[in-house]
């Protein structure tokens, strides 16, 4: 131990260019300085990890699990993943997110906060991440396409669009331990270096649950070709076109019937559209004394269960729009039928697959409402 400290003092003396004859004079202050530096570093590192844990709890744990074990989001604490990705990939992924694939961009976190989160993630295995050269891999696209189509496309999609659904959440058990990431995603493409993609490809097929892939022997050139082909993927266009993001986030139609007739028409339309009528109540039910409710504001709750199950498989957050709720209101002699517009609000989920369901929900709401007026 003493030998090590002496050695450290000598190294520090050399770094500070202190003449050898002055070593005895400076050795004690240097020792104190050395200890102070070590303690501060250890303390800072501990603080950074603690701050990272706090930030991870606040921003990441809801989806990725409190220990990074996965949930709606992918598992991050798997050693084969966390030990093989570099810090740049993790930091860029946090800051860029995955447009249209649920994970939002955390570009409001500053560099120190992102660094702290990554330090915390590294503490799961206690190992630093690998580092990769930033060199561009340029090989044969055609051969890469053949390899990709044969070995990768089944899970990652023919255009690299990724698997369907969310990570390992409450939705149905799946044959794969994780959802195959979208390789065409802008966030992934800009976060991963060519060398990292090559390394991940090499590792992922060895860990693949698909038995035939485990024994597959690919050559270095095959991986180079694969990376070159993956780099040709174009990101899926943002579905939130101006027409979708403009206008009010509600559907409102005026009825030509009176309140009671409109409500009855709506009930019939709900049954006719194969929804299950769940509940009819006034808006103020439960807030005012029983018997004094305002009947001119009536809510009808319904649900199309097959649709619900399919939507939940894609993203459990669809519950924000469930169950279907249509409100019939009479004011100053006019009867209006109202509902939220799921298509207009679907951008809150950052999930392109869910957008399709929200558009279908919009169409079904419009159909129900127009049948009742």
């Amino acid at each position: 131990m003493l030998k090590n400290i002496r050695h450290a003092v000598i190294i520090l003396s050399k770094m500070l260019k202190i003449p050898r004859r002055l070593h005895p004079t400076f050795s004690l202050p240097l020792l104190v300085l050395l200890l102070a530096v070590l303690v501060t570093c250890a303390d800072n590192s501990g603080q950074t990890v603690a701050q990272g844990k706090m930030l991870f709890d606040e921003h990441c744990s809801a989806c990725h699990g409190s220990q990074g074990q996965g949930g709606i989001g992918l598992p991050l604490n798997v050693p084969e993943f966390i030990n093989n990705v570099d810090d740049f990939y993790l930091k860029a992924s946090i800051q860029r997110g995955r447009p249209g694939r649920i994970m939002p961009s955390f570009d409001d976190l500053n560099t120190n906060e992102v660094n702290a989160i990554v330090s915390y993630m590294r503490s799961w295995t206690g190992k630093p991440g690998k580092s990769y050269p930033a060199t561009t891999i340029s090989a044969d696209i055609g051969s890469g396409k053949k390899t990709y189509t044969r070995y990768c496309a089944d899970c990652h999609g023919i255009h690299g669009e990724g698997g369907k659904g969310t990570g390992v959440s409450q939705s149905r058990p799946r044959k794969l331990p994780v959802l195959a990431p979208a390789l065409n995603n802008e966030g992934f493409q800009k976060s991963a270096s060519d060398s990292l993609i090559k390394e991940l490809s090499r590792n992922s097929h060895k860990r693949s649950p698909i038995e035939t892939l485990k024994d597959t022997v690919l050559q270095e050139t095959d991986y180079d070709n694969l990376v070159t082909y993956i780099r040709t993927f174009k990101p899926t266009k943002n579905p939130h076109t101006p027409s979708q993001t403009a206008g009010p986030p509600i559907i409102v139609r005026e009825s030509s019937y009176d309140l009671e007739t409109t409500i009855n028409n709506l009930k019939e339309a709900i049954v006719g559209e194969n929804f299950r009528l769940i509940r009819i109540q006034t808006l103020d039910e439960g807030f005012v004394k029983q018997g004094s409710e305002n009947r001119s504001q009536t809510i009808i709750y319904s649900c199309a269960f097959n649709f619900l199950y399919d939507a939940l498989k894609v993203d459990p957050r669809i519950g924000l729009f469930l169950p279907c709720r249509v409100t019939v209101v009479e004011d100053k002699g006019k009867v209006k039928v109202m509902a939220i517009d799921p298509k207009r609000l679907s951008n809150i989920f950052n999930n392109r697959q869910l957008d399709e369901f929200c558009t279908q929900m919009h169409d079904r709401y419009v159909s129900l409402i127009e049948d009742s007026i």
Binding site: A62, Q170, S171, R172, P248, D284, L320, L322, P323, I348
Partner: protein
């Protein structure tokens, strides 16, 4: 004096830029999702208490979980808690008819293993869409209240 004259507007401009930047960036996350390290039934009870402590009335808890497990889902614990403030429920439909489809407010509760997830709109998207000062104030109040409810649930569980 000269320094203060030049510096104050510069400082205020920088502050304003920073505020608008952080607000825009933060608003990207338009859904509030919180993980509670406690099983579903207990969390649901804690949530109802936290909602009441924030001055709201829970009017109903709706199951959206009919037979999910039978269909192969890992759990069928998935419910919606409806709540509101009596004064708002009586006032807002007249004053702000556009808010009717959003009333009563709701929080989604679902299980994920031994944890429970709480989910709510964070209302920022609605504030941006309507771009109306009175509505923005309401949305911000709802957002703030929901955040306080979630914090209370987390703290109750940690005790």
């Amino acid at each position: 004096m000269m320094f203060s004259r030049c510096f104050t507007p510069l400082f205020l401009t920088m502050l304003l830029c920073w505020i608008s930047f952080t607000t825009a960036a933060a608003s990207e996350r338009l859904v509030t999702l919180v993980r509670i390290a406690q099983p579903f039934p207990e969390t649901l009870e804690v949530l109802k208490t936290a909602i009441a402590q924030q001055g709201y009335t829970v009017t109903r808890v709706q199951k959206v979980d009919y037979g999910l497990e039978k269909l192969g889902f890992e759990t069928d614990e998935y419910q919606v808690v409806f709540f509101g403030k009596t004064a708002e429920i009586l006032r807002l439909p007249k004053q702000q008819p556009d808010l009717i489809p959003f009333l009563p407010l709701k929080i989604i509760v679902f299980a994920e293993g031994l944890d429970t997830l709480l989910l709510s709109d964070n209302y920022i998207s609605l504030a941006k869409v309507y771009n109306d000062s009175a509505l923005t104030q309401i949305f911000h109040t709802w957002r703030s209240d929901v955040q306080k409810i979630f914090i209370n649930v987390k703290q109750s569980v940690q005790k």
